[in-house]
Amino acid sequence: MQPGNQSQYSRLQGTWSFSFTYTASGIHLYELQTRWGATVDVLSDPQFQWTPPVGLNPAQYALSAHVFSLQWPSYGPIIVQSFIDAQWQATVGRGGQTSVIAGVQLAPRVCQTLMIGGQVSVDLFPSGGGMIGKIDRQGIFSASLIFPF
């Protein structure tokens, strides 16, 4: 394989959005925060599913996946932290009542089922003699948490 150059790498550059979901049972958000920062392999953990966008060529996919997996240990726990510290607006009850619940700390409670999903984008661009990859800082995430009775 020949060394790359600016022209070659410019053919690989782009920004792509990846969707992911993570499903687990019997853990709480604090534990998830630790797990995402240490042991979750986003490319092989069966609890973590990610979906690349259509249209990536194999090289773009390989590099994007590499960047994604490298960044996840620092990025994943921040997602969880945002759930722990944030104010929640929740709908609970048969009638679908809505209440703003300020300062709720969900983290200590064990979740019967926990599903977190979202979208993040990976940006690849040529720089110097190589490339730079980064994950977009402004992902949108959602969570579905079910607690034991």
Binding site: Q71, S82, V92, G93, S99, Q105, G130, F149
Partner: protein, 86 residues
Amino acid sequence: MAYDESDQSDDGSEQDGDSSSASYADQDGGDGQGDGSTGAESVSNAEAQAEPPSNGDEVTLSDDDIAGILRDAGVEDDGGDQGGYV
């Protein structure tokens, strides 16, 4: 930061509606009005705009890094005059 709850598929737990002081534990139907039949409480589809990661790290990929990643992925250089890994 605000969370937006939209899913209505919960289990019928009681909501006390006290937005100023409620904690999640306050919603467990302890006043007897919840049916308690499902054995679970749920908070679902809470959406969030996550805080930006504080590190903002970029991953720098050298020529060797890129070659190794592509080799490991089984992606071969097309060998054309203009090179490229596509």
